[in-house]
Symmetry: C2
Subunit: 434 residues, 2 copies
């Protein structure tokens, strides 16, 4: 399928509507089991943290479990557990989301709880201070004791001169340590509004049912008048290559990574993001990719290699290349091999059959994802949270099918090593770390 | 002089006082010629630029010559020229300053003009837009066409993960292009207040005379009530080395630099900044320094080499090492030589006579600076603008004299390569750029 005919209606009939208070609602029917996945996505993430208060989006995500005027601390979570359900929450650069998975008959109750904490959160210093210690400990566990995470933090920081994607989602330690109740409440009041949220319900329900439940719960929250505005400094064009290297005896597997700033689905000209998506798959998506074949199978200089494109982002985003060296292969050597393959992708066209296979794989993966209720809910929620429409998502397979070998080559040419960041993770200082 | 006895009263009798509206005044008598240097320092610089509006401090510095309610555009400058005087202005990370040098009898007139533009600035879109083009052109000339400046911009950005010292003083091009009259006026009203300024008058005047003139000019400006607060995100401890490299055929002389974040005079524990100052002089201050002797004279791997410490800063600041390679010497080789010398400074003590010579030189330089009226005015102005006191400045020679060889070694040990940024300026891509 290389023409731009519409994708077959292989998926469920997705509905979307907006409540009078501005809340966007998406319903994804899935009647295979009597369960529902209920998610609320807020269109704010770590990249919206006020300056000097990095980590506040993530910290508030923790605090959202601390109770409301109507329900004491932990009551919502306890109830989900009592119902045999699951719950979780996560914070990313561009959004914060909360979800529960419960039997279908409990959807209304879960919605009432979640709607309640959209505006009813209560916080005391007694809950804020210990939770801040929890987050600090989370940071110590995940980052400060892990050389790979330390390197990633430094790489992101070096990549973004100015844009807050360079900040760690969890925040810098000294800024987390200074966050307090007032910060959390100010942030909460600014971003936790119906206009700033997307409700996604997937599962054994229909749109009418969800609409009625949504009206009865979220619909009772007054509109704020306008959605909060994301104001982020944009990235200047740096013109120097940056090699970030970290050596630590705890490193058991060295690695080299290469990161480029590229347009996202949101910021790209038509077709550009899709070209990057297909390129990532062709050079680094699995065992048939260029990187894997050449670096791992043929030259045996790497034990693993890949590429990926973080296209779902509000602002210009990241394209990653990485490889783990085989024993006794230096990172410099491996980096040169990566560069050579990239030059190949910049100067030659991928064969038609490889291109078709990659595009089919990407589209098929999206179709298979429909088999997973939570994955579907996450896909729609994340896409809408960054500003895409239901139509953008529906049309995505067609846009991938339309990618040509020339567009893939253009995508490769947009990856300019002179402006990229390379990351070296080493077990000990060696000359290769320059 | 190795003990901590007070420095001899070798300098002029400096006076300082504060007007009722909060303006700090420093008077530095210098009666050798009938001229005066008049400076106003504002305690805000590029590191106080609001997020997303980089370059506003510098842009406003330009706009301050565009006239007030009382005096049209250019009238002040024309008058200074008519009086046979000189004038200038400059913006740095931490301050913005304006100065004039005129015959002593014109001091009152110049003060009246400068006091007038502290609060009387008028701006129209007709003057703002063309001046913005001037600044954009200044940026293009200085940075965008100069590989060395491009590299420096990338190095500063990589060095500071978070703190605004990582932003260029002139601003990022896309943000300068978006600055407008409202931005400039909002910034002006926030920072151009008597409480935020330091007036320095050096020359053929005495304190009583300056006080009377200051009361009659600046003294008529109402107090705002409080000085504006500098709120800047502080730097997290990055733990990865960063090598920033830029290759451009326009580069005629390659270079390697190494930059560390270190405490400033303002942030350091007692004695630490002074140790760094003496270290910079010992390893990189002129033809008798360790770097020059070893790299240029003995090994002949460099044609120049040096070090300096930017101690006059509000927040943690920068310590620089640099060298220019001799022909056919690679930057990697030179970087390893630098590292070896630094290890030497970290593991051995400088000989007593070298240490004495360095300290004597630093103190002598400060004494010689007293011979230059403008240099003295700048020294006091910059120091007070970053929060130092007159006593700090007076006592500085004693604190330098008190630095021990052990303190210098500690200073060297605080320079951790694992957290530093290295900059490579190259004429063409080579493997050494990794």
């Amino acid at each position: 399928m290389t023409d731009a005919t519409p994708a077959p209606a292989q998926g469920p009939q997705i509905s979307d509507f907006r409540l009078a208070n501005g809340l966007d609602v998406v319903v994804i029917p899935d009647h295979r089991a009597p369960v529902v996945t209920h998610m609320v996505w807020y269109r704010n993430g770590s990249a919206d943290d006020p300056i000097g208060k990095s980590g506040i989006a993530h910290f508030l995500e923790h605090l959202m479990f601390k109770g409301t005027e109507a329900h004491g601390p932990g009551v919502f979570s306890d109830r989900v557990a009592e119902l045999g359900g699951q719950e979780n929450a996560f914070t990313s650069n561009d959004y914060t989301a909360y979800f529960q998975r419960v039997a279908r008959e409990h959807l209304g109750e879960v919605m009432a709880f979640e709607a309640d904490r959209m505006t009813g959160l209560t916080l005391s210093d007694e809950v804020v201070a210990p939770e801040r210690d929890v987050v600090l400990e989370e940071r110590r566990m995940r980052t400060d004791s892990d050389p790979s995470a330390q390197l990633q933090e430094a790489v992101q920081s070096a990549l973004f001169a100015h844009h807050p994607y360079g900040l760690p989602v969890i925040g810098w330690e000294h800024e987390i340590a200074a966050l307090n109740r007032d910060d959390a409440l100010a942030y909460y009041r600014r971003f936790y509004t119906p206009e700033n949220a997307v409700l996604v319900v997937a599962g054994d329900v229909d749109a009418q049912e969800v609409r009625a439940l949504a009206e009865a719960t979220y619909g009772r929250i007054p509109a704020r008048g306008a959605a909060p505005v994301r104001t982020r400094p944009q990235e200047p064009p740096l013109r120097a290559h940056r090699l970030v290297s970290l050596a630590d005896p705890k490193v058991e597997q060295p690695s080299v990574s290469r990161i480029y700033i590229v347009p996202s689905y949101r910021t790209a000209a038509p077709g550009v993001a899709e070209g990057l998506e297909v390129l990532a798959h062709l050079i680094g998506g699995g065992a048939t990719s260029l990187f894997y074949r050449r670096l791992v199978m043929e030259k045996k200089v790497a034990v693993a290699a890949g590429a990926y494109y973080l296209g779902t982002a509000v602002d210009d985003t990241r394209f990653y290349l990485y490889a783990l060296p085989a024993p006794d292969v230096s990172l410099d050597t491996l980096d040169r091999e990566i560069e050579a393959l990239l030059v190949e992708a910049q100067t030659t066209l991928f064969p038609a059959e490889e291109l078709e296979r990659a595009k089919n794989r990407l589209v098929a993966d999206a179709i298979y994802a429909q088999d997973n209720q939570t994955a579907m809910a996450r896909w729609y929620g994340a896409s809408l949270a960054i500003g895409a429409s239901i139509e953008d998502i529906r049309d995505w397979p067609n846009r991938i099918e339309a990618v040509t070998a020339q567009a893939v080559r253009e995508a490769a040419r947009s990856l300019d090593r002179r402006r990229a960041v390379t990351g070296y993770l080493l077990s000990e200082q060696t000359p290769q770390a320059a």
